[in-house]
Amino acid sequence: MTVDIPLPPIEAVPATQGRTRHAGRAATPWQRRTRLQRAVQALAPLLRKPGFSLALLVVLFALLAALVPQVLTGFDPYATSPADKLVAPNAVHWFGTDELGRDLYTRVVYGARLSILAALLAVAIALVGGLGLGVLAGFAGGRTDALLMRLVDVLLALPGLLLALAIVTAIGFGTVPVAVAVGVGILPGFARTTRGEVLRIKTLPYVEAARLGGASWVRTLWRHVLPNAWGPVAVLATLDFGAAILATAGLSFLGFGAAPPAAEWGTLIANGRHFLITAPWVSLLPGLFLVAVVFSLNHLARSAEEHAR
């Protein structure tokens, strides 16, 4: 371990420090810009695009609904009112009412909590697992990489919804199992993307330069590889957040989600299909809201990606 080569005369460093102090006396007008300032500068042109702002508003609305639904509506999601059943959309009931006379808009807003949280949980599982696997495989290389990638191949070979169905069969119905199942289903995509990015960035000259500058692998990973790999992974996360909403909705549509009367978006749509002829809005309007949220997420991801290019 020890190197018996004489290092450059030690005064080289103190000498530069001496010079630095000297330079310090001439008060420098230069000040470092903060990260926040730079982030604002980068975001400003995006916010000026109307499509981006609109999509951001829709997503923020959905997040708000997940956190504080009571702010967005005056009705009780579970209060039935048989007199008002299957009312078409009007000024009072924006999305109409369902077969028990419950306000549909309110049910959609309250449904956001379960749906959004399930999707967030799914993406979090995929992100943590996928990033971990991807970084490990990309960085370790060799046998570890080959082994992990075969595992990812296996996960990819299992159709997402079927894998989710198997998990749900084993651990039971409900929002959390569904979220876990969806998260495991989208994990391999994250692992592959992360690994690809790590492998790409690992060979770039600036990483080599950092290594030659004496930076350890851990430091290189934290300071150079991960921040630069993060872009495409974040875009994928946004896209997959939309996909996770769709997948959890699909599973709850099939009847594996939360138990009634609590309702996820998928349950609402499934519930409405019995009245498709008489009251199509009961399943179509919640669906439209779902489409708006997922489309907005996709739009955000795509704009960010195009902006980065």
Binding site: T20, A23, T28, Y206, G214, H224, N228
Partner: protein, 538 residues
């Protein structure tokens, strides 16, 4: 000129729409080209020379607009011509030899089909014997075994061969003008020279006019009857090579001439005897290939020693093993044979951790300044990273050191806040040099430090490197394919060819009186070197 001009451009102005604003790319360009004449358009990046080439082909991108002026091709004004008119002109009147042969052929079509396509278009219909014509054309542009080449795909051919195929495609329509857009800048120098010779011979035989777009004033003087020097979209000077070389009227042309490193080996006192800083002894490197192929020898029998304050240049074309030599010296590869010594200590088998303390003594400046800086790091972060990684300085001391380093490489300290994408190529290379200097190394390895830069910027960076060497007494190992750059910097020269050292010695001797045929070919291929009219040569 006695002939009516083939191409006449009058007062042409072209602008691009970029982020909602119109940016002028060409302003008041006027020139004419006679049949059979060779005109070179010379300029650095941003001079509008490529825009001009595209305007002459009607291939301006969608956000470009011809603001004013006329372009007459064979007596027809095509400045605002329809796509239909252009299609009759392209291929049959104006042919193109594009810039980068590696990416200018469709990778999924056979060579023969791509050439045949041009032939069929020129005749207007499919015809019998097109295959024979393809092979004849491929033979004319100097490809061996044309029948085989016609069946191959582009990736199976070398860069030089691909450029010959592209010349064949340009010739297929029997045009009256060929536009050659930086035709050889992506190729090795010796290949460059052969291809240009061949192209000029073919066009001369057929009476085809040639428009060469280039950044290389020396090459333009060698090849052209007349030169049009451009700067930032405006024509600066239109003259013959002799006029340019013996007394360029415009200061910009003179600056370009002076910026191109003259091929004059520098003569300096010999190295002081004593222990060399870096010594490679009989170093070789073999790479294992998949089963049947065995091993590939990238480098063999390389020995060199470098003394303080001296520059040793390693010259070679692509695949010569010069990068491998550099990586071995940096401890990124372990040599298969021989050993590497720093100050007399053998470090050949060192692990990265063992090598790490040495990083303070030897640093690298990379080839491509556009990829050498982390796009998310500010200049400040990049420059101080080695100091932080070694834990040498922190806090205000670190910031002062950064200011000192950035001034040292001739950039204002406000640049410390910039991101790499806000810098030009030359500025990035200065930042990369500052980063390499941060640890105050004794040896700096320079991997093609200026090959990605414009000529005038090259000159500035070379001057900076020279200054730094004189002041800091740092020793350089310069890896380059450009003999002019090598001549202006090196004390010792080592010529590599296919992993073998073919010649080695003091710069004046190796470059002034090359002994090996390969070195002689390299020296002869330097643009401008062969011309007797050149007052600045040797």
């Amino acid at each position: 000129m006695s002939h009516p001009p083939l191409v006449e451009v009058r007062d042409l102005a072209v602008s691009y729409r970029v982020a909602g604003e119109r940016v002028k790319a060409l302003k008041q360009v006027t020139f004419s080209l006679a049949p059979g004449e060779t005109l070179a358009i010379v300029g650095e990046s941003g001079s509008g020379k490529s825009t001009l080439a595209n305007a002459l082909l009607g291939l301006l991108p969608g956000n470009a607009r011809v603001d004013q002026g006329q372009v007459w091709v064979e007596g027809v004004d095509v400045a605002h011509a329809s796509e239909r008119t252009w299609r009759t002109l392209r291929g049959r009147t104006v042919g193109l030899v594009p810039q980068d042969p590696m990416v200018s052929l469709n990778p999924t079509l056979r060579i023969g089909r791509q050439v045949a396509e041009a032939l069929v278009l020129a005749r207007g219909r499919r015809y019998r014997g097109v295959d024979a014509d393809v092979q004849a054309l491929l033979a004319q542009v100097g490809l061996d075994a044309p029948a085989l080449r016609a069946r191959q795909y582009p990736h199976e051919l070398s860069g030089g061969m691909r450029q010959r195929v592209l010349i064949a495609i340009a010739l297929a329509g029997e045009p009256r003008l060929i536009i050659a857009d930086e035709p050889t800048s992506a190729l090795d120098v010796t290949v460059q020279r052969r291809i240009l010779d061949h192209l000029q011979q073919l066009t001369a035989e057929r009476g085809i006019a040639l428009l060469i777009i280039t950044h290389d004033l020396g090459m333009a003087c060698d090849r052209a009857d007349r030169l049009l020097v451009m700067k930032q979209g405006e024509p600066v000077e239109l003259a013959t090579p002799r006029q340019v070389l013996w007394g360029a009227q415009q200061p910009y042309t003179r600056a370009l001439l002076n910026a191109a490193p003259a091929f004059v080996p520098r003569r300096r006192p010999r190295a002081q005897p004593g222990q060399p800083l870096l010594r490679l002894h009989n170093v070789g490197k073999q790479f294992a290939l998949p089963a049947p192929a065995g091993t590939f020898t990238a480098l063999q029998g390389l020995s060199l020693s470098l003394h303080a304050g001296q520059t040793l240049a390693i010259v070679g074309e692509s695949g010569s093993g010069k990068s491998t030599a550099l990586r071995i010296a940096l401890g990124l590869e372990t040599p298969s044979t021989g050993h590497v010594e720093y100050s007399g200590v053998d470090v050949s088998g060192y692990s990265w951790r063992q090598f790490r303390p040495l990083r303070r003594r030897v640093q690298l400046v990379q080839q491509n300044p556009f990829a050498a800086l982390d796009p998310r790091f500010t200049v400040y972060d990049s420059i101080v990273e080695p100091l932080v990684a070694f834990g040498l300085l922190k806090g205000p001391a670190l910031e002062h050191k950064a200011v000192e380093l950035i001034r040292r490489v001739g950039l204002p300290e406000q640049f410390l806040d910039r991101l790499p994408r806000e810098l030009s190529g030359g500025q990035r290379q200065r930042v990369a040099i500052a980063r390499a200097l941060a640890l105050a190394p004794e040896v700096l390895l320079l991997d093609e430090p200026v090959s990605a830069l414009d000529v005038s910027v090259q000159a500035q960076i070379l001057a900076l490197l020279d200054d730094l060497q004189r002041e800091l007494k740092v020793a350089y190992v310069l890896v380059s394919h450009d003999l002019a750059v090598v001549a202006s910097m090196a004390d010792q020269v080592l010529v590599l060819c296919h992993g073998q050292v073919v010649e080695q010695g003091p710069a004046a001797q190796v470059l002034g009186h090359p002994g090996h045929p390969y070195t002689q070919a390299l020296v002869a291929a330097i643009p401008g070197h062969s011309r007797s009219v050149l007052p600045v040569a040797v």
